[in-house]
């Protein structure tokens, strides 16, 4: 298969790194070569975070060149715009329908984006949206929001649900697996275009 490039972006603390870990593990379980690369450190809390996963027969660079992401998964609406330059022409976009106001805005230092809906529609006319926090609440634990997104993301990858489950079981502490699997399954059917 051609190497697939997936960029996951959002805000520190949203569970992006765990989600990309599980995606990378799933690809490895499928017998593919995988590289997962993330930047954290000062972005630990509240900063903008990015993780990139590439998989295929043979993958060299851990960095996905700008303009070549086949899939952009944004855990937050504003961040989807910030990382627009990663997306390949014709690439797919999955957006968590959630706003997290940056402290620069809540404190009044910088202006709020008032036309976010319009800008997202213009940039990504066929984006998929999922209200992962609402789905996670239905499942019974808001902390599983990232696995709802993993579920929504999974249908855009060439991997079976079973393989994803296996990766989750290997990565997530045993007592939390059932709750997370439930969230993952709930996320699989919930992404919609608008």
């Amino acid at each position: 298969m051609k190497t697939m490039n997936v960029s996951l972006v959002g805000v520190g603390g949203q569970g992006i790194l765990l989600t990309s870990d599980i995606l990378a593990k799933t690809a490895a379980l499928a017998g593919l070569d995988v590289k997962k690369s993330e930047i954290h450190g000062m972005a630990q809390r509240g900063g903008s975070v990015i993780s990139q996963v590439r998989f295929g027969e043979k993958v060299y660079s851990p960095i996905i060149p700008d303009g070549t992401s086949d899939l952009l998964v944004s855990f937050e609406r504003l961040e989807a715009l910030r990382w627009r330059h990663l997306l390949a022409p014709g690439g797919k976009v999955l957006i968590n329908d959630m706003n997290m106001t940056p402290v620069t805005v809540s404190s009044g230092q910088q202006a709020e984006v008032t036309d976010l809906d319009e800008r997202l529609r213009a940039e990504y006319p066929s984006a998929l949206y999922v209200d992962a926090l609402a789905v996670a609440k239905e499942v019974g634990n808001t902390r599983t929001m990232n696995m709802v997104l993993a579920g929504a993301l999974s249908v855009l990858t060439p991997f079976s649900a079973e393989l994803w489950h296996q990766a989750m079981q290997e990565r997530i502490p045993a007592k939390l697996v059932d709750m997370n699997l439930k969230a993952f399954e709930a996320g699989r059917a919930r992404a919609v275009t608008r």
């Binding site: 993330e38 000062m42 900063g47 903008s48 404190s107």
Partner: protein, 591 residues
């Protein structure tokens, strides 16, 4: 047979250390190297491991273990190597007994650092061996080989990682027989001619170090870590470390000399490769470390206008280079949509005790020398209460230097607990000894915060989770001879202001320990919630000065010039700092 696992290079170091029979490991945390020791600790049954107090001490512990005949490892970020250089420079004369492996993680592009350093220069300076892995598999293989090389040539062996290798996970075949290795321990034999490099012994050691370099250079030409991948010989690319991956992606058809062992450089191999291709191009990350040595051999290297010798390498930069040199590619079309978007910088967590100190220092109009840690964020608006940050521990000497240079007004140094233990203790002693009057404020949250909550001498636990003695910073300062030592609960804003004002204005040196546990480490992020009564709120803006991420702009006043505040219950951790700033009693703790 094989056993494939997905590992970051940091994890791969730990697995390799275990397999190579490493017995002792010590490190001080620092992004991007922190996870190395955290993962070594997973093999604590076979590796005695610890958080060192600083990189120099960790290097010394590893050297001691090596002298005793065991295999030892230390790991650090690039700036940590600066701290550890002193023992290293002499141990390269003495020569390793048990294998000594040093992992240094550079941070090209400064994702989480105050500067960018190519550590390869320091490794060459120290006459040590140097491996440069391109991914986690090579890290796993090279760390094991580094122990062998260290013992074979009696030399410290470095493995240079970068943020990109440290924090990238790739598939590693660890072998189906993975387990803790048990190499033969070297005997320790007392030998003052070797281990005590006084001048008369050091001179012959100097000659030995020279011979060692020559022997290693021959090894460099034979090791499979340096290899030619033959392709189109119209261009021959010499590359090292992770940049190999980008070369394979952007220049896939050309011949490559892939260097995995770069100090000393395999001179004969480089010459042979250069002779076999029409043009030689050198691609590496940060300084022209290999390139300058290649040029010094009289080999002509392709010149280019594309800047490659600073910031992080990536495929886009090499594509730009290819466009310049060969003119047969274009960079992928890129659409940007981030114009006018508000930035999202990292911020002090809601409820962080550091916020109280910076809020108060801003109020007191103090000049503040700062240091390395989460609290460097106190420099940014709206707190804006920090003037300088140089390196670990520098704040104290910096403040004292400012005082000596005649700086007037309120002046203080602010340092975290872990940074204080790392290299603040000598700083305050110097202030006391030399008659300074500055105040040193220790932001004591009982954890090493920014690197992800590592234990330290103040936290009461070790790397492996065992109980450890707790060092009391106030008692330490008193024992040094400080007469003015104060301890204050940072969450009590009135008390904090009173103490800081008094100590900053006192004409004697003082140490203030402003305490409050890290909200994340102490699991206090959901400890409570405060609420603003929108009727009582007068939109005075006092609470906004805290810069707390949980406090948001609410309803505007009729003239639209000011805003009432509102508290996001999800982000609020109930610290009540904002309640203390409100003169109108509009903020209450609701749970």
């Amino acid at each position: 047979m094989s056993r494939k696992v997905l590992l970051s290079a940091n994890e791969a170091v730990a697995w390799a250390a275990c397999k190579a029979g490493c017995a002792v490991a010590s490190a001080y945390p620092g992004t991007p190297s922190t996870e190395i020791l955290e993962n070594v600790a997973k093999f604590k049954d076979s590796i005695s491991c610890e958080w060192g107090v600083n990189e120099k001490v960790s290097m010394e512990v590893a050297i001691g273990a090596s002298i005793a005949g065991a295999r030892a490892l230390t790991a650090m970020k690039h700036v940590g190597l600066n701290v550890a250089m002193d023992p290293l420079m002499t141990y390269t004369y003495v020569g390793a007994n048990g294998g000594l492996v040093v992992i240094v993680a550079d941070d090209p592009g400064m994702h989480s650092s105050q500067n960018e350093q190519d550590s390869r220069n320091l490794v060459k300076f120290a006459r040590a061996a140097l491996f440069e892995p391109a991914d986690s598999q090579e890290t796993f293989d090279m760390v094991q080989a580094a122990f062998e090389v260290s013992e074979q040539f009696q030399v410290p062996a470095f493995v240079r990682l970068s943020t990109r290798t440290s924090h990238s996970s790739t598939v590693v075949d660890v072998g189906d027989d993975f387990g803790a290795g048990r190499p033969e321990r070297k005997a320790y034999v007392k030998d003052i001619r070797r281990y005590i490099p006084v001048p008369m012994f050091a001179r012959p050691q100097r000659l030995k170090a020279q011979e060692r370099t020559a022997a290693m250079r021959a090894f460099a030409c034979e090791t499979p870590f340096n290899r030619v991948e033959r392709g189109d010989n119209r261009l021959g690319i010499i590359t090292s470390g992770v940049t190999y991956q980008y070369v394979k992606e952007v220049f896939p058809e050309f011949s490559v000399l892939k260097l995995g062992f770069t100090n000393p450089l395999p001179v004969e191999q480089v010459k042979a490769f250069a002779a076999s291709v029409e043009r030689v191009l050198v691609i590496e990350e940060l300084d022209p470390f290999v390139e300058e040595q290649v040029r010094a051999l009289g080999i002509k290297v392709v010149e280019h206008a594309t800047e490659l010798n600073m910031l992080e390498m990536n495929p886009m930069r090499l594509t730009a280079l290819r466009k310049e040199l060969l003119g047969d590619v274009e960079l992928p079309a890129v659409t940007r949509a981030d114009a006018g978007l508000p930035t999202r910088p990292p911020v002090l967590c809601s409820g962080c005790s550091h916020r109280a100190v910076f809020y108060t220092l801003a109020k007191l109009g103090a000049t503040v020398t700062g240091d390395i840690g989460c609290y460097t964020l106190g420099a940014f608006p709206p707190l804006s209460a920090m003037d300088t940050t140089i390196c670990m521990g520098a704040c104290i000497g910096n403040a004292f230097g400012m005082e000596k240079a005649g700086k007037t007004g309120r002046l203080c140094a602010v340092i975290g607990d872990s940074t204080f233990f790392h290299s603040g203790m000598t700083g305050i002693l110097n202030v006391l000894y030399n008659g300074g009057t500055i105040t040193t404020i220790v932001l004591d949250n009982r954890i090493t915060g920014m690197t992800g909550h590592q234990e330290n001498p103040g936290s009461g636990r070790t790397l492996c989770g065992d109980v450890a003695p707790v060092t009391d910073i106030a008692e330490l300062a008193k024992a040094m001879g400080f007469k003015r030592v104060a301890r204050v609960d940072a969450y009590d804003l009135a008390a904090l202001e009173r103490v800081l004002k008094e100590e900053l204005d006192a004409p004697e040196p003082s140490v203030v320990i402003a305490g409050g546990p890290c909200r994340i480490a102490a699991k206090l992020m959901n400890a409570g919630t405060c609420e603003v009564d929108p009727v009582t709120c007068k939109a005075c803006g006092a609470c906004f000065k805290l810069g707390c991420p949980a406090i948001e702009r609410g309803e505007p006043t009729p003239d639209g010039k000011r805003f009432k505040s509102r508290i996001d219950p999800v982000q609020c951790s109930g610290c009540t700092m904002c309640r203390q700033t409100c003169k109108f009693g509009a903020i209450t703790k609701i749970r």
